[in-house]
Amino acid sequence: MSSHARVPSAAHAGLASPAQVTFSPAQLAEVRRLQGLYPDPRAALLPVLHMAQDTFGYVSLEVEEYVAGLFALSPAHVHEVVTFYTLYFQTPKGRHVVAVCHNLSCHLAGARAIIDHLEARLGVTVGETTDDGRVTLQSVECLCACEHAPMMQVDERYEFDLTPEKVDRILERLR
């Protein structure tokens, strides 16, 4: 889902500027705890990148460089890892991420209509973020909840058995 999210025109609330790319002392302690869980501390890279994204909003080149420093890894190695995985964002994302499954079972249950509905409601196409920075819309591969097709993930939550009406109710909750 290499989502080339259109960078929203309005300034995003809550996004760190490069100067702010440092963890708090408590977070640094957590980094050391995570590194200690593995025979090779570098194995904590994925968990620490999750922490970094939660803290800084997305994994910018500055964030990659900062995280590389915490692991004594080259920024190039960290970049290679970040770009391999779909859950790390390299550009600012919306305050909420709506990821609709488009794989086979969801396709059979009408995923296309759900995606069309979301595109119309949000005024964006898949891969884009709304101008107000509220929602990034994605379509993704099987989220392994096919018994509830069509379904989507909204931030951390799975939303099941979607209809256009249910999608509208879910969107209303997203601020």
């Binding site: 889902m1 994925l46 995985y85 794989n103 079972s105 591969e141 099987c142 392994c144 096919c146």
Partner: protein, 408 residues
């Protein structure tokens, strides 16, 4: 026919994920029994049970465990594959959320069998709730003294990549790298995570282990077929009345699963095709569903049991469209290391797309079949063979439907 439930026996309880509920229903009684057994005796018991891996490849679990080098001096790791990503499969999500202690107890037994002091559970990044549930159970197990006394469990989150479900890709990802699979041999049992002998097992496989210890290999073996013991969890989705997860013997037939357990076919009510083992399994026609769902039964039918993700299609479903959706998945998820896989998945998706849009040409179908066949078996991992299964079977079994879309 549905036998008794082992893996799903507690799913009806709202508190099934708690230590208290697990103990109240006989949980953590296998572990003391296993502690009284020699590691070799545990391996032998699992071999005799005919338990086979439920993550996809169907390899005999006891045999895999016996590959750990004897008298190995350094660490040995147990890695649990909870990177569930095979389209059509959702059983591990239920196990993590509803019976996390079964996995922990199974890990304790497995770790003793392979002499491992540390286990890792690799959970797909999108599974946030299952991850929280499982991590909470791990904390309970530490507090209760099951963990931390010779065996530790580290819960690890992935970050979105289907290929990390392949065991060597999973190990690379666990080590903090991109999830590129590696050529085997060496197999993980010889050189796996962090360079040490490693057993990778699926969540469901390991959840079976306490039952085998408690009730014996012979009992477990008798639940299945000659070559595969036990029950398994079938994920059923698509055009059925009651989509969901069903536990039943590995010896039931696909017809029984669709009609007796999942309530039959919706849409126009008439079955057209079924994918029996996750999207990487070859598709079956409606007249091919009187097969047993064990590893060998489906292999003999020219497809595979895989992850037991069963996707049902009624007569109104367009098979070319379905193949296009499946081909898009493989094009997106190829890790790109091997040329045949990287190139063919991309091209075949494009060709499927243009056929569906009515822009296909006469020789497109044979071109797809030819390209697919030539790459099969030549790549680093089984991902590409998993893509070839659907490419070939959808086209061969439903060729006229594709031809009808191609302008003459």
């Amino acid at each position: 026919m549905t036998a008794e439930k082992l893996l799903m026996r507690n799913f009806d309880r709202a508190d099934s994920h708690t230590l208290e509920a697990y103990r109240a229903t006989g949980g953590y009684t296998a572990w003391p029994k296993a502690q009284a057994l020699d590691p070799a005796a545990i391996v032998e018991e699992i071999k005799q049970s005919n338990l086979r891996g439920l993550g996809g490849a169907g390899f005999p679990t006891g045999t895999k465990w016996s590959f750990i080098p004897k008298n190995h001096a350094g660490p040995v790791y147990l890695v649990i594959n909870a990177d569930e990503g095979e389209p059509g499969t959702f059983k591990d999500r239920y196990l993590l959320e509803r019976d996390p202690h079964a996995l922990i107890e199974g890990m304790l037994v497995a770790a003793r069998a392979i002499r491992s002091a540390r286990g890792f559970v690799y959970i797909r990044g999108e599974y946030v709730e299952p991850w929280r549930r499982f991590a909470a159970a791990v904390r309970e197990a530490y507090d209760a003294g099951y963990l931390g006394r010779g065996f530790d469990v580290v819960v690890h989150r992935g970050a979105g990549a289907y290929i990390c479900g392949e065991e060597t890709g999973l190990i690379a990802s666990l080590e903090g790298k991109k999830g590129w699979p590696k050529l085997k041999p060496p197999f993980p049992a010889i050189k796996g995570a962090f360079g040490a002998p490693t057993i990778v097992n699926n969540v469901e496989t390991i959840c079976h282990v306490p039952h085998i210890i408690n009730r014996g290999a012979a009992w477990f073996a008798a639940l299945g077929t000659k070559t595969q013991g036990g029950t398994r969890m079938y994920s059923v989705s698509g055009r059925v009345k009651r989509p969901g997860v069903y536990e039943a013997s590995v010896a039931i037939t696909l017809r029984q699963l669709i009609y007796d357990l999942a309530g039959g076919v919706t849409g126009n009510g008439r079955l057209k095709a079924v994918v029996p083992g996750g999207s990487s399994a070859a598709i079956l026609r409606a007249d091919e569903i009187d097969v047993t769902l064990d590893v060998d039964g489906l292999r003999n039918a020219g497809t595979m049991a895989g992850s037991a993700g069963v996707i049902v299609m009624d007569e109104t479903v367009s098979i070319p469209e379905a193949l296009m959706v499946v081909a898009r998945f493989y094009a997106h998820e190829s890790c790109g290391q091997c040329t045949p896989c990287r190139e063919s998945t991309g091209w075949i998706y494009k060709m499927c797309h243009r056929i569906v849009e009515g822009r296909g040409t006469k020789d497109d179908l044979d071109k797809i079949l030819d390209v697919a066949r030539r790459g099969a078996g030549t790549t680093i991992c089984a991902f590409y063979d998993g893509a070839v299964g659907p490419y070939i079977s959808y086209i061969e079994k439903f060729r006229s439907e594709f031809e009808a879309l191609i302008p003459t």
